[in-house]
């Protein structure tokens, strides 16, 4: 076991391999507040990557309704419970593994994958009669969009006895070598997010590849490009101790700390960062997103984004371009995004221009229903 530094936990932890951060790390920010669970991302991913035989049950991208949804079934509750039973809540899954395993984990049953939409749109409680009319009601739910986190310390990679999983030094994308895997499913067992899947036809394991063919040519992945709610931004993060304030990802994650990792306590340093949903009971969020301080800070910052041009500008980049935004800046009217070479790839106005058109269009002799 090596000792590696996990910045999300701000401590050293055990990991099977030495710390070796990629030259730059692929990362995502998902603004949960905006997700509408349209599943466009899920379908975009499905049709792009997993429409072959043996992949039928796989959703590299899935969107589940919290608190009751989960895919595979109870992935989060199961691992949380295992940690609790072992009294290992303060240990990472690597530290809690013991001598015989490389990571604490469990292998889902086949049936656990059969209900991807379980709990969809179900609230945490019953809406009292009449509550709809009396302002904000107390029941809650939210949509959690999930992909592989392309972790800095992947459990899937740590668990593979064949070293068939690797993390690319150029961008930190974690891949299962399809020519080396022998289908042991140690990775499926070890990944707490359950984002490696077993293909029953090839009998080997597969996972999200971060749409690397797109990323390699400077474009964001399919789930990001197609997102209807414009909740997603993909980019690269620098080392946490050397953030670049002009990089929108670094700005949101390291500088403003408005986006938080999912279950950082597991110790993988996951690289999908969530802007937490603001109307959800805080205790629920503390457990999911790294504790009270982090969550309270993120929500307070988010709620003030309207008055915060730079933060708002960074958030306007979501869904504004298919290109990867490496740098951004704001002025009075626009947020600008630039690619790696410094070319402008998007320019988003803070105020949407409004045009008024006459109710009756004389030229075409029609009435308009929508005049703005």
């Amino acid at each position: 076991m090596a000792k590696v530094y996990n910045w999300q936990l701000d401590r050293k932890m055990d990991y099977i391999y030495e710390e070796r951060r990629p030259r730059r790390q692929v990362a995502w920010v998902f603004d949960i507040n905006k997700c509408i669970a349209c599943q466009t991302c899920t379908v975009a991913c499905k049709t792009t990557w997993t429409s072959g035989p043996g992949q039928e049950y796989m959703l590299w991208n899935n969107v589940e309704t919290k608190p009751y949804g989960s895919y595979p079934l109870k992935w989060d509750l199961t691992i949380l419970k295992m940690r609790k039973q072992l009294k290992a809540e303060h240990k990472t899954i690597f530290e809690a593994a013991g001598m015989s395993e490389r990571a604490l984990g469990y292998l889902p049953e086949s049936d656990d994958y059969m209900y991807p939409n379980i709990g969809e749109d179900e609230c945490a409680g019953i809406v009292e009669k009449g509550a709809f009319f009396s302002g904000i009601h107390q029941v809650w739910m939210f949509y959690l969009a999930r992909i592989c986190n392309h972790c800095t310390y992947p459990a899937c990679l740590a668990a593979c006895p064949r070293q068939a999983i690797y993390k690319r030094p150029e961008d930190g994308i974690v891949l299962v070598d399809q020519s080396r895997c022998r289908g042991y499913r140690e990775c499926v067992k070890a990944c707490p997010y359950k984002k490696v899947f077993f293909n029953v036809v090839t009998r080997i394991s597969e996972k999200c590849i971060a749409c690397y063919p797109l990323i390699e040519r400077g474009e964001q992945p399919r789930c990001v490009q197609t997102c209807i709610g414009k909740i997603r931004l993909q980019g690269f993060i620098n080392r946490p101790d050397r953030p670049d304030p002009e990089n929108p990802m670094d700005y949101l994650i390291f500088i403003r700390k408005v986006a938080l990792p999912l279950y950082p306590q597991f110790g993988l340093e996951p690289n999908v960062y969530y802007i937490p949903p603001i109307h959800v009971p805080r205790k629920f969020l503390y457990q999911m997103f790294g504790g009270k301080d982090a969550v309270e800070h993120a929500i307070a910052t988010y709620q003030k984004a309207r008055e915060d041009r730079k933060l708002l500008g960074a958030m306007l980049l979501f869904g504004a371009t298919e290109k990867i935004v490496h740098r951004f800046r704001v002025d009075d009217r626009y947020a600008y995004g630039y690619d790696e070479e410094g070319n402008e790839v998007c320019r988003v106005p803070f105020e949407e221009p409004i045009h008024f058109r006459p109710l009756f269009d004389r030229e075409r002799r029609v009435y308009r229903l929508n005049i703005t």
């Binding site: 043996g54 039928e56 006895p161 895997c181 042991y184 499913r185 029953v200 036809v201 080997i204």
Partner: protein
């Protein structure tokens, strides 16, 4: 120190040896053929793999019974072990029963390499049998439709739609991998498209030959010559598996057999989640080809 300990273990386990009897014809696919009775059966103790994690924590297969035959071209082993469940399929959470034999390739002063799948510079020749492959050979490829008969799929790329069965059933059923024709359809099968040597939809033998130089280095041989066959005896709840390898081979990755060699074993119980390093194994046992120098 670890390696030293490993080399010691075979000595500790007593003076067992497997003596292969010469027969003119080997019954390659018939484990109950009485020819096997000509060879003495040896019962070998298995140990749980606990050297490299993940370990085998619960060892259900404790011993394996071995008989050996040889002729001018082949060395064949009949392996029998008790397993209460016949685990054939591979599902997201299901593993097939398996067995493997290992022979030394690179000997140093008459001593074999590490029995833990060899060591750098000390290659071993491994032949593995899987109940799943046996099923593939006997009944056709165990495909998605065999595993999930009621599964519905709208479309596979480059596979004709609507999918109709031989009797043009309505509603039509999704086609099986064995019915894919257009080569473009196979581009959507990652392991196949990446030429993973273990991904093959047509199989003639339920065994595969590998070479290894230590844990995690198992790789399939270019030349596949081994033969095998497995039968599950429901009454006795015993697997009976034959594995045969050429006695002398041109293949540099193969073991060649003189009068005295070594063999070691690994057994996996699928229903216990055994796979990969979660196995029961036996270190080297001398393998004597009776009557040969």
């Amino acid at each position: 120190m670890r390696a030293g300990l490993l080399f010691l273990l075979p000595g500790l386990l007593g003076a067992q040896e497997i003596v292969a009897r010469y027969v003119p014809e080997i019954p390659f696919r018939d484990p109950v053929n009485k020819v096997w009775k000509q060879a003495k059966s040896v019962e070998i103790n298995l140990l749980p793999q606990t050297v490299v994690p993940p370990h085998l924590l619960e060892q259900t297969v404790k011993t394996i019974r071995v008989r050996a035959l040889y002729n001018d071209l082949w060395v064949a082993l009949l392996l029998e072990w008790k397993d209460d469940t016949r685990d054939v399929y591979t599902l997201p959470d299901g593993f097939p029963d398996q067995v493997a034999v290992q022979f030394p390739v690179d000997m140093v002063n008459g001593a074999p390499p590490s029995f833990m799948m060899g060591n750098p510079g000390g290659r071993v020749h491994i032949v593995q049998w899987k109940a799943l492959w046996q099923e593939d050979v006997e009944k056709g490829y165990v495909s998605q439709r065999k595993l999930f008969p009621n599964m519905w799929v709208d479309q596979y790329w480059f596979v004709d739609a609507p999918y109709r069965g031989p009797r043009r059933e309505v509603p039509p059923y999704p086609p099986d991998i064995t019915e894919f024709k257009d080569p473009r359809a196979f581009e959507w099968i990652p392991g196949y498209a990446a030429h993973n040597p273990d991904v093959s939809f047509s199989r003639e033998e339920p065994v595969r030959e590998y070479t290894a130089e230590g844990f995690g280095t198992l790789s399939p041989q270019q030349i596949q010559e081994a033969r095998g066959w497995g039968v599950y005896n429901e009454k006795r709840r015993v697997w009976q598996v034959i594995i045969a390898v050429p006695r002398v081979s041109e293949d540099a990755q193969n073991a060649n057999f003189g009068g005295r060699s070594f063999v070691s074993f690994a057994v996996w119980n699928g229903s216990q989640g055994n796979r990969g390093s979660r196995k029961a194994y036996a270190p080297w046992v001398p393998l004597i080809l009776e009557g040969l120098p």
